[in-house]
Each structure stands twice: as structure tokens, then as C-alpha cells.
């Protein structure tokens, strides 16, 4: 969809979140000088177009005990990669799942981020993915993050993202 100038203002006003009040859209509309109905219409259009995935809470999975995560990577037969990737993505413990190109010294094309309460649990979940992939998977590895080196939120600039 084409993002209008008003949409861009709405995005900028809500990237930090919505106010926790009974009528949060009315409050945001007040900040922007538009009516609540216009705001809800534009946000509904953006949700229908997939620009907004949903309006929801983000739980802090660390606070809720999911403190271990690993980026599992798999060398999956190309002819089966889309079908099997869809099954891996649907697993409740996988938060991101993509096909990416292989590289020199990097045979893996399927990436799946696994979350668990500890590394032992992550390894058990990884074995579940291995069982699901079966002989279509020729090699795999898992990369644990040891340090966050940088983390920024969504950036918005004039006229573009």
C-alpha cells in the first residue's frame, strides 16, 4: 500500500506504543488533531494491508522465564525447503523462521530462532526440529548470542522509513 503523510504521522506517534487508557485511539487522535474515527479508519487500512500486524502487547520473554535462545540453522534440500520451513515456523517455540541464501563455508539455508527456559531445553527443541526435517536435512548448527552489541528501535526519517 502507499503510506500517506497522515499514515506516517500516525506511525511516528504510535511506534512508542499506545496510551493505556480506556479510549487510547481518541487520545492519539487528539495529539494528531484528527478525529478518533479517522485514526481508526487509517489504522484499520494499515492492518488490512499488513503494515500493522496487530495491536497487542509484547510480553518480555526474559521476564517470563524464556531466557535462552539460539539461532538454529539447517541445510535443507531445496526442493523441500518451503514445505518444511512452513512446518518449522508453525512450532510454538520458534519466533522467526526464514529461508536465506547459502554462502562459502555456510551450507545452511533455513534459519529458525528457538526460545526456551535454558540451553538444555533449547537443545531438546532443536532435536524436535531435526526429527521433523528428517533426511531432507544434511547438516545443522546452532548459534547462541553471547552479547547484544547494539539494539535500536524502528527508525523513521523524513519521507521514508
Amino acid at each position: 500500500m502507499t503510506i500517506s503523510a497522515l499514515d506516517r504521522r500516525i506511525i511516528a506517534a504510535t511506534t512508542g506504543g499506545l496510551p493505556l487508557t480506556p479510549a487510547p485511539f481518541a487520545e492519539v487522535a487528539g495529539w494528531l488533531g484528527i478525529t478518533e474515527g479517522t485514526l481508526i479508519d487509517r489504522m484499520t487500512a494499515m492492518q488490512d494491508a499488513g503494515v500493522i500486524r496487530r495491536v497487542a502487547i509484547a510480553p518480555n520473554h526474559y521476564a517470563l522465564g524464556l531466557t535462552a535462545n539460539g539461532m538454529s540453522v539447517w541445510d535443507v534440500d531445496n526442493t523441500l525447503a518451503v514445505e518444511l520451513g512452513a512446518q518449522v515456523g508453525a512450532l510454538e517455540f520458534v519466533s522467526h523462521c526464514y529461508l536465506r541464501p547459502r554462502a562459502d563455508g555456510w551450507p545452511y539455508n533455513l534459519f529458525a530462532m528457538i526460545h526456551g527456559h535454558n540451553r538444555d531445553e533449547v537443545e531438546i527443541l532443536r532435536a524436535q526440529i531435526a526429527a521433523l526435517l528428517g533426511p531432507a536435512c544434511r547438516a545443522s548448527d546452532i548459534l547462541y548470542s553471547t552479547r547484544i552489541l547494539k539494539k535500536t528501535g524502528l527508525r523513521l526519517t523524513e519521507g521514508g522509513l
Binding site: P22, G50, P59, G85, A90, Y98, G105, T157, L161
Partner: protein, 160 residues
């Protein structure tokens, strides 16, 4: 951005109602004037009590945010996962060079020969390669590009 709590809460920090709120509110609220009303009714709470609980859970770090989740790519941005093999003795110096680029959105140290993994976020696709080339020149190290070729639907939800 407030700093993210990275340690578990005490087991009794949340009660059963709080946990039900977290489990239900990951799936999205209706875009209506009073988006909390239906959920409050379902949970047998009044709207103010529901909102107060969400507020408290945000304060103690059980919830990081309430609001719209945007798909940055659908808004026209370009993104690419990148990886580098950085010699241990140069790690911090290379990290400083890489992080200095505003296009570098996230950067993680990981347990692998490819030990630095970052995401480039640019306005246009062509800028991904340009930024990666600049990082290669500045560091003298190859930058591997792992663009998304297929994204799978995700069923991930945190059970509180």
C-alpha cells in the same frame, strides 16, 4: 527506549489473571473506540482494573510495550541480516566501526566462526550493498549478506 529486563520475575509476581491477560493480549485487540472492553468482560474484570493490571505489568517489566506492531518492510524499508568473522583481538574495534553506521539496527555476538551478526535497515534495497561495502572497506573484513528469501508464518506465543 527503556532498558529491557533480562532476568526472570519471581514466580509469584503474576497471578492467574495477569497470566491470562498476557496470553490473550498477544493476539491483538480490536481497532475500536474502547478496545479493552470485550477482553475485560471475558476475564470478569472491569475495564479500569484490566488497564491497571497492564500498567503494573509494564512497570515490573513483564510486558515491554502495548501498541501496534509494524511490518517495517511493508512500509517500504529494506533489511538484511549480515555476518562477519571477526578475529578475537580486533572484536571491540570492529564492533565500534560497525555500530557507528546508523543503518546497523541490531548487532549480536554469537558462538560461531561467524561471530558478529547484525541487521542492516535502509530506506532502499541498493543501500544495503553500499553499506556492507563501506563496512568491508573500513574493517578490511568480508561481510556476508543473508537476505530473506522466504518468510514463514510464525505461531510463536509466550505462555505466561
Amino acid at each position: 527506549m527503556t532498558s529491557l529486563r533480562r532476568t526472570p520475575l519471581a514466580a509469584d509476581a503474576l497471578d492467574a489473571t495477569d497470566r491470562a491477560i498476557i496470553n490473550r493480549m498477544q493476539d491483538g485487540l480490536p481497532l475500536v473506540s474502547h478496545p479493552f472492553t470485550a477482553l475485560a468482560n471475558d476475564l470478569g474484570l472491569d475495564e479500569d482494573a484490566l488497564i491497571a493490571r497492564i500498567q503494573t505489568m509494564r512497570e515490573i517489566g513483564a510486558i515491554t510495550r502495548f501498541g501496534p506492531f509494524f511490518d517495517a518492510e511493508a512500509m517500504g524499508g529494506a533489511f538484511c541480516l549480515c555476518a562477519m568473522e571477526v578475529p578475537a583481538g580486533r572484536f571491540d574495534a570492529v564492533m565500534t566501526l560497525v555500530n557507528a553506521h546508523p543503518e546497523v539496527a541490531h548487532n549480536y555476538e554469537r558462538t560461531h566462526r561467524l561471530n558478529m551478526w547484525f541487521v542492516l535497515a535502509c530506506e532502499r534495497v541498493a543501500q544495503i550493498k553500499q553499506t556492507a561495502d563501506r563496512i568491508e572497506r573500513e574493517t578490511g573484513l568480508p561481510v556476508l549478506l543473508f537476505p530473506k528469501e522466504h518468510e514463514f508464518f510464525i505461531g510463536f506465543r509466550v505462555t505466561a
